[in-house]
Symmetry: C2
Subunit: 232 residues, 2 copies
């Protein structure tokens, strides 16, 4: 996969925004590291981040966590509650001091019946996520770990980064553990590649932030032949 | 991943069925091997299979196809048209003589506004697909190729198989090429593992059908330690 040629989106009209059709609801404040839902704490419905960041993971049957995504202000998570999946399979944890707004799935269904554009907006939101998942399946299927990490860094910096000097975008610290759960490898392997990327000038990081030069990473991905993982 | 302990679904009430809220629409008949949409033929909207089977794939930027899924009667595909993705990234091809019903995405939006339960049904459908994708991301991340193939055979036989003798379920022929595009490996590797599974009594196959003993495969997966792929 080549992020520089991500499929073009030709929109006949702008997508609907669920936020435009949802009334205010109760707000939950959570501290850094605190679970919003997990094995022991049931999902209350659909959530939207008001402020802060939330990490959503799924646990495999062998007990290995897979990072689904990180969500920021105005983004939704917990949509699986709309199909009444039993709790415990996925969890949402605040990465920093976070506030979220919650709507029970019964309320969402009632509201969608009253405001059909809300339903369309939700359909579009979830379709967008499955397109994202399909890309990730491709990347896991065919990219080397190094390329998967490069894709992850570009994607997170485009989602969360604020422009900084010299083409870098600065975002919250991405721990090597979170990256390993996204890229699906061990933390040690992530640390090895992150050190290499740092020495190549693609990123700088500390406990407080991660800065990524996405353009430089994309150039490198274009030049570097993609390892034919799993091909033989 | 262990298919025998797939996450339990505790439903407060049955999911909505989009079919119950969609009026009849135009029907398209396609021959085996013919494209319903692809790079050269635009998606007409959302499709539902009336009879036959349809294989939906995505092409990676390097030109390698990934099989997204195979759809059968009463199942929907082409939902990406709801977010107006440009054509060419995914394609749908009839695996046998097939009839599909089509609704333009503008019509779906209008219908959903008139029949809110249709919108809820579509949301639930798409949420279900993204949960499926999340499981596949897990499997690609952590399972060996052999286990990924075993999961794929169990899943396809549960979706398409009709009960046959001795615990086998018989379905359409799954080509090694399709399996390689689902499991994400080469056809040669699939052939190697299929021969091995056949000699272990897990399956029989010909040009016309594939028969799978899903219970035997699940037992074997339980005993066989999962290779810690990508773990070091």
């Amino acid at each position: 996969m080549n992020t520089s040629t991500l499929e073009a989106v030709s929109r006949r009209k702008p997508l609907e925004d669920p936020l435009a059709y949802l009334p205010c609801s109760s707000i939950l404040h959570v501290k850094r590291g605190e679970a919003i839902y997990d094995r022991d704490k049931a999902r209350a419905g659909i959530y939207m981040v008001i402020a802060g960041k939330v990490k959503v993971s799924r646990m495999t049957d062998e007990g290995r966590p897979v990072l689904i995504d990180i969500y920021q202000a105005d983004e939704f998570f917990g949509e699986a509650s709309l199909i009444n999946l039993s709790p415990g399979v996925d969890s949402a944890v605040a990465l920093e001091t976070t506030s979220v707004m919650t709507w029970a799935s019964e309320d969402i269904e009632r509201l969608a019946a009253e405001r059909p554009k809300l339903a369309i907006a939700l359909v579009q939101l979830v379709v967008g996520r499955s397109v994202d998942f399909a890309r990730r399946v491709e990347s896991l299927a065919f990219d080397s770990i190094e390329h998967r990490l490069a894709h992850a860094l570009v994607r997170f910096s485009e989602r969360f980064g604020a422009p900084a000097e010299n083409g870098f975008a600065e975002m919250m610290a991405l721990t090597h553990e979170s990256l390993s759960q996204y890229v699906a490898t061990s933390r040690e392997v992530i640390t090895h590649h992150m050190n290499r990327f740092r020495s190549m000038g693609f990123l700088t990081y500390s406990r407080r932030h991660t800065s990524v030069n996405a353009a430089a990473i994309k150039d490198w991905m274009k030049q570097e032949p993609v390892a034919l993982k799993n091909a033989a």
